[in-house]
């Protein structure tokens, strides 16, 4: 904890003409982003408004077809479930990473990262083996007397598979925030009369929330655009928007409709984040102070 002395901006005035210089360092990244994100995005927006002719007919179609709205809603619902599962699984795991010695921590990091290095398709296919009706999980359940549970081709199966793929994106931001939390604060809370659970909820949890928010945001946004996992593990009742987009673009060659779907997803995501931002920002502001 360092006392925060006001720092003076060294020679800020008189060199104002040079102030843009640090920003020049971002140029390579900006150029890359413009080429691989900006240009395609612009193309999609334009195509959604121009194919087969100029106008908003693709958007009218999207909002006119109930199936699209159902899938959009389901996409958000599945992403929310995946985020929730990730938070619940990652929080204790990340906490354990802060509590153990360096060697065990390395093991824990490897356990997170090694699956990460395996291709998503391979991982998803292994989930197919695990989740299918005659798969490992169902065999186990049957051997202890439960009747089989339908996991493959269901929303549950999709959520399980996606959560596993996305878990590192939750664990790593959580860990980076948690390792900065001064555990001596918990001791202070106890000396002031807080039993350990109370100390956790009033001190540790609020201080770890920035990590939860950061991880949740990454996982949620990545989950919205997931394609392979829901396509392989899901069935017709767990189709996500990306599958519909793929269908429109690659099977029906309806680039305009596919583009409109992408734009709707993007805008909906922005709206949701804008609604969540005030909560996250105020929390983050407080917790960031140390």
């Amino acid at each position: 904890m360092s006392a925060s002395e006001p720092t003076t901006q060294p020679a800020a005035e008189g060199r104002a003409g040079w102030a843009w210089r640090p920003y020049a360092l971002t140029l390579p990244a900006l150029i890359l982003l413009a080429a691989v994100i900006g240009y395609p995005l612009l193309t999609i927006v334009l195509r959604s408004l121009s194919e087969p002719e100029w106008g908003v007919q693709n958007y009218v179609w999207f909002f006119g077809a109930p199936i699209n709205l159902t899938v959009l809603q389901r996409t958000f619902a599945i992403s929310a479930w995946v985020t929730l599962v990730c938070v619940v699984c990652a929080y204790p795991y990340a906490y354990l990473m802060t509590a153990v010695g360096p060697r065990v921590r390395l093991m824990l990091v490897l356990c997170v990262l090694i699956p990460f290095w395996v291709s998503g398709v391979v991982r998803t296919l292994s989930w197919v083996i695990l989740l299918q009706d005659s798969g490992v999980i169902n065999s186990l359940l049957r051997s202890v007397g439960f009747s089989g549970v339908r996991l493959i081709r269901t929303q549950t199966g999709v959520v399980i598979g996606m959560a596993q793929v996305l878990l590192p994106f939750m664990i790593l931001p959580l860990y980076s925030v948690m390792k900065g939390i001064d555990l001596r604060l918990m001791r202070a809370a106890e000396s002031l009369g807080a039993r350990p659970s109370r100390a956790f909820f009033t001190v540790y949890l609020p201080l770890s929330l920035p990590g939860v928010y950061a991880g949740a945001m990454i996982v949620f946004i990545l989950a919205l655009g997931f394609y392979i996992t829901p396509a392989l593990l899901g069935g017709p009742r767990s189709t996500m928007l990306s599958t519909l987009v793929q269908n429109q673009v690659l099977s029906l060659l309806q680039w305009g409709r596919g583009g409109a779907m992408g734009v709707v997803l993007l805008v909906a995501t922005f709206v949701l984040l804008a609604l969540a931002a005030p909560v996250m920002r105020s929390r983050h502001r407080e917790a960031g102070r140390r």
């Binding site: 904890m1 002395e5 202070a188 350990p196 102070r289």
Partner: protein, 371 residues
């Protein structure tokens, strides 16, 4: 200590407390009684067991054996959050996500105290540490000294009968430390709570304490007022830890009433002998040593030692000299402003009255643990 308020503090009894980590004894039979309302300082070098003792009292560390009573009741096995003891940490430990006001209100909220009472008590505690205007700030917006004052307010706001402070001023600069020492003394007087204060800074201990317990290697070497520790150290370690001192070692000869030390050809005597078989050393406080030029009959004392000025330090109120004696050891002498001054390398003579020399058992660990 104000006797009229003494009842607000709790007495603490530690009886043969031992804390072992494997084979290592962090505390080795520590016994200490702290009176209600007393300001007791646990003083010692790092690793001496003073912080472990504090953690034991606070409930952060359990004991291997021994009894611990707070206010006459055993608290062994009682978790920290049920002990109702205020603790101030060296690292402040303010909750970074709460304002100063919410930090100080925290222990009151936990105790289910209603909002109006809470606000009044938070305001009173913050006023007591002169931080009343900062209730809406966040800890990160405060300086170290301000944060520690808030931490103090938070530790006293729930009126604990005992306040523990673990090197609370350790991270602050000297001027601020001296000012906060006086503030802590004032707050102790106003509250009448029992204070237990851990420090490795002997000056701080002398400024603050009613009594001081000197720790070394997991044991208490001596308990007493600052004056007792300075004038009548029980062990060589205590004598060296409290204040400046000169230790004379030499070939010892004792008879029934006196002890003589032969140091590199010169002999000094003290009119006492040390009980037991331990080899005696003499400990002298700087003000008991007179310094003069060789052959220039300095009035006081019968014992003379020759030496050379190895270091001269001007202190404003006088000068302090480090004198290299014939056997290579060094002596610390303080001379008043009005006295003669000496330059580096000058030959001098030290004189002292044998009655002023403290005879103590030699203890080689006293030197090595002074870090």
């Amino acid at each position: 200590m104000n006797p009229g308020q003494a009842s607000r503090g709790a007495a603490i009894d530690l009886e043969s407390i031992t804390k072992a980590y494997g084979g290592f004894k962090a505390l080795d039979g520590v016994s200490l009684r702290i009176e209600p309302g007393e300001f007791m300082t646990l003083l010692g070098p790092s690793g001496s067991g003073k912080t472990t003792t504090l953690n034991v009292v606070a409930g952060f560390t359990d004991v291997t054996s021994g009894k611990l009573l707070v206010g006459g009741k055993s608290v062994v096995g009682v978790p920290a959050h049920k002990r109702n003891i205020g603790v101030v940490f060296q690292h402040y430990a303010l909750f970074p996500h709460m304002t100063v006001g919410r930090n100080v209100a925290y222990p009151l909220t936990l105790r289910g105290i209603d909002r109006a009472t809470r606000q009044a008590r938070v305001a009173r505690a913050l006023d007591m540490v002169k931080m009343g205007d900062f209730a809406h700030r966040y800890p990160s917006e405060l300086s170290g000294g301000q944060q520690q004052r808030v931490a103090l307010a938070r530790a006293i706001v729930f009126d604990p009968p005992l306040l523990l402070m673990d090197e609370p001023l350790g991270a602050l600069d000297k001027k601020l430390r001296e000012w906060l020492q006086l503030e802590i003394k004032r707050i102790h007087r106003e509250l009448g709570t029992t204070f237990v204060y851990v420090t490795h800074d002997q000056e701080e201990a002398l400024v603050l304490s009613d009594r001081i317990a000197v720790f070394n290697r997991g044991r208490i070497e001596q308990i007493g007022t600052g004056r007792q520790l300075y004038d009548e150290p029980a062990t060589l370690f205590v004598g060296r830890f409290i204040g400046d001192s000169t230790v004379l070692r030499g070939e010892a000869r004792s008879d029934a009433t006196s002890t003589a030390l032969r140091i590199a050809g010169e002999t000094v005597t003290a009119p006492r002998r040390l009980a037991g078989e331990a080899s005696p050393v003499m400990l002298l406080r700087p003000e008991k040593l007179a310094i003069g030029r060789p052959g220039q009959g300095v009035a006081s004392g019968t014992n003379r030692l020759s030496g050379m000025i190895a270091e001269a330090i001007y202190l404003g109120s006088g000068s302090k000299y480090e004198v290299r004696l014939a056997d290579g050891s060094s002596a610390i002498v303080r001379s008043p402003l009005t006295g003669e001054s000496f330059g580096l390398g000058e030959q001098v003579e030290l004189c002292f009255d044998g009655a002023d020399a403290k005879l103590l058992a030699d203890d080689s660990t006293a030197d090595t643990t002074l870090t």
